[in-house]
Symmetry: C2
Subunit: 264 residues, 2 copies
């Protein structure tokens, strides 16, 4: 697939296909591998990779393989839904982390997936699959359910109609169940994913609102199912979500009494 | 400047110039502004920005201005010197943060600048200029001095010969002084920047080693000069740096007795 979505690939789309050739499990590639994965003739891959490397979008390591470069990290740090969002949220994520010393997630919705913007994990925290910059189907996770529940009706209906990937026997498996859960999340203001990604992990998530009072992100705490009660985590996750919303300038968080209590 | 470094700009270099048009203080740009900053005809800017936006490298906001997109954040998350390094370091940065509840920095060297990979700050921490993805002259900061002291001789000599930007009257101002300080950092294993960026901030940094036992990054703690003694921070910063080096698989951190003590 090219950035132009069909038709004769442009140079721009080829450059983007080269960037797309890299993935978490393929973070270091030779020019031949890049060419193959991007569907480019070796000579073209050579020329474009050379330009990308000179600029710093790619870095060549000692054994001649290429990796994503620091310069791209610098540019990406300007993404409003990336580090910019993360920076506003970080102090509150810290507070949330210190409340449990397990895992804290900050994520945004992209299509029917969540993309993790931040993850804070203790060395001995319960294992989670999330990775900063990583994607995960929204229907299975605490952050994802919090985001889906407040997404546009069209997005919600697409999620309800879509095949729901199953991770455990507790993963939401039918559109009807997802519809019910999303309504529940809107009613309670929190999303609970208990053993729906991994049987031993419990996630409690809450929506984060932006300056336009629309949901901009979601924050969640992930702990071992065994030994934790979701109800005990709801207040702190909710307070954290409100704090981040306030930091983002969400009117509803500025006027909310819960926020006032949180501030005292 | 284009990615090809002169000559007729290629499409690739134009795409990269478009990305380069965005900066921390210019995070949202109209197509006209992008064209002007990237030195492109409006029609060209229109076409290239359109392709970048379709792929997700740029995002168009409600008022029609463009920002760096989430997709670029996803790709940049694969940069080994970016989030990958950060992920290995994070648990140790957490420990370091909890030791002072001020500021913790993780940075790498790029030319004569440091680029901040991670920053953890308490809401009420002493003010620091650092920003994830941001750059700062290496000679002024704790992380920077720790990195420069262990950089190649050519890099050190360039730094010593270069004009040294002055931030306060305590900023290292002469090549001779910088040379002396770098030798001191190598001798003690820690770098101290006291009031050299802002008069009221004290930074203590230490080098982080990679799998090849070369310095891969530096970690630092930044606290108010007033009320903190650098000597009290040296052990915890050193222990943190060794812990991160060990997590990165640095042989010297695996065999070091200090590390063993740190593990007990």
């Amino acid at each position: 697939m090219t950035a132009t979505g069909g038709g004769r690939p442009t140079v721009t789309s080829r450059v983007l296909d080269i960037l797309e050739a890299f993935s978490a499990d393929r973070a270091a590639l030779t020019i031949t591998e890049i060419g193959r994965r991007a569907g480019l003739p070796l000579s073209t891959a050579h020329r474009l990779v050379g330009e990308l490397a000179r600029w710093g979008a790619l870095e060549r390591d000692a054994d001649g393989r290429y990796r994503v470069g620091l310069r791209l990290f610098e540019v990406a740090a300007l993404a409003p839904r990336g580090p910019a969002l993360r920076t506003a949220a970080m102090p509150f994520l810290e507070d949330l982390y210190e409340a449990t010393h397990e895992n804290v997630h900050l994520a945004v919705l992209d299509g029917l997936d969540v993309v993790y913007i931040e993850r804070i994990s203790a060395r001995d925290a319960v294992h989670v699959f999330s990775r900063v910059g990583g994607r995960w189907p929204a229907h299975a996770t605490g952050v994802g359910l919090a985001l889906l529940a407040h997404a546009g009706v069209d997005v919600q209906e697409r999620a309800i109609a879509a095949p729901l990937r199953r991770f455990t026997d507790r993963t939401i498996a039918t559109g009807a169940e997802l519809r019910r859960v999303l309504a529940e999340v809107r009613r309670t203001g929190v999303a609970i994913s208990d053993g729906q990604v991994e049987t031993f992990a419990l996630s409690v998530g809450a929506p984060v609102y932006g300056p336009d009072d629309a949901v901009a992100a979601a924050v969640a705490i992930v702990v071992p199912s065994d030994g934790w009660d979701a109800r005990a985590l709801i207040p702190v996750v909710r307070a954290s979500a409100r704090g981040i919303s306030r930091a983002l300038g969400a009117p509803r968080a500025l006027r909310s009494p819960e926020t006032a209590r949180h501030d005292r």
